[in-house]
Amino acid sequence: MRSKVTLARLARNPQARYGLIALVLLLALAYVGPFFGPYDWTDKDFTSFLSPPSADHWWGTTQIGQDVYAVTLRGMQKSIVIGFLVALFSTGLAALVGAFAGYFGGWVDKALMWVTDLLLVLPSFLIIAIISPRLKGASWLWFVVLLGAFSWMITSRVVRSMTLSLREREFVLAARYMGIPGWKIILRHVVPNLSSLLIIDATINVSAAIIGEAALSFFGFGVQPPDVSLGTLIAAGSDKVTGYPWLFLFPAGLLVLLVLSVNLIGDGLRDALDPGSNK
């Protein structure tokens, strides 16, 4: 079985192993960690403002007395969820658009690729930033849609070119001659055959989305208060970094670790799924 070979390769790959261990630890910290902390993320301790890390407040407090440990883990949960959702959304969109364009060809291909080009030319950061004032008060899921909508274009071009060659393969032709409709062939035969590319792409998209979310939130265009994410925390912390470094260092450090572990897994997956590599 191919998947078994892949898994065995993945387990032997040290990069992927360390990445996976780190990611599991970080996930555990984000979702189990809050139960061990002495404070809830909504609690405000009015006896200590901007106090450095101590036995009571493990990672210090903010200027309104929030516990940095609790708030940071809460923000990390949001960042992780956003990262995974955006990756799922954008890779799925890339697969569908690319496969439809490549499979049907003709005007469908022309129209879809033209939209792809247009979205590549539009400065995505600027567009999301302009739209974001409208999203104040709306669900943060809209933000996920926006981030995803601007990160699928390059992959969909790759998917399209691979579909062009898959289209002529025997199993696809056989399915077509049996009278199976095009959309079904795409979903059943074309997309599953691109799975290794898509899995790698989705992994890379997770870290790209986490950084993208943080980058937009840094200027207040992303997750809106009272919700917190690593991006909003880093933004708040970077203003006071010279006097109160713990406000910045903890969220920033966790962001870097998160991105690093996901990237390690992505690199390991690439080695494991690439038939050319014999490691």
Binding site: P123, F125, A129, I234, S238, L260
Partner: protein, 325 residues
Amino acid sequence: MGAFLLKRLVSNVLLVAIAASMAYFLAATSLNPRANYEGRQPPVAESVVDATLEQYNLNDKTPVFERYVTWVSGVVTGDLGETWGGKSINDEMGRRIGVSLRLLLVGTLVGSAVGVTVGAYAAVKQYRLSDRVIGVSAFVIMAIPVFVLATMLTLVAVGINDTLGFTLLEYTGEYNPALSGWDQFTNRLNHLILPTISLALGQIAFYSRIQRNMMLDVLGQDFVRTARAKGLSRRTALFKHALRTSLIPAATYFAFAFGTLLTGATFTEKIFGWHGMGAWLVDSIHTHDVNAVAAVSLFAAVCVLVAGFLSDVIVAALDPRVRVS
């Protein structure tokens, strides 16, 4: 070839026009320049606000399509309109492009040159300790977003300045206007150090990775062995034959990165207090400045396409096969 280029140019111009128009409509319908005049003490009469907004083509009471037509007829003749404060966008843009260029020119040149050198060095020393150290540090640096990196740099600079007791490293603004002549020149250079590092580090990591991979591909090829076999020294074979061929992808990225960075250096510019194009992007949205937002998006779209064109030209210059076909 000529017909192909012309066709591409036409479709590119069309793409820019559509992208800029979409950005204008989005900005004009989402942003609210009126908010800049609200809540003032004493309150500004609505008719005055209307008249001012009307003058700058920002009045949300005019139908958006009418404002768009006014904007386009200005853009076609080379006039990008006025900011909500009534300043000419053309002048402001010229100044800001200058600021961004000064920052980027040094940053991208240092980043790509060091990155390519480091990558080529790592390829020659494949699997040795130095290769591994370079690989791991590039991997780590690429996981650090630029706003974290820039903030860390200011933290380090403040730490150094504090321990020394005087300001060794500047970390805000472009220069100190109180100085003049030679002092101001060195002061400007000092202000460049930290933003340049923050811009260059990520690029060094990126270029070193692609350059290493390309160089490894090339090193195993026949023409390098032939060059050695005909009696060239290892050094000449590496520099004259291997490096030049393996530079092509890095050069492509270089052109592209330069184009997109003109507005993409937003974080570096904002954190270090430079008032360039990138900072304008964020500032104009925060101040609901529709015309400025439209101008920045137009500029960004043009930059992406020019960068794509430029990378084609560079590839043609470096790769003889492209020129022949």
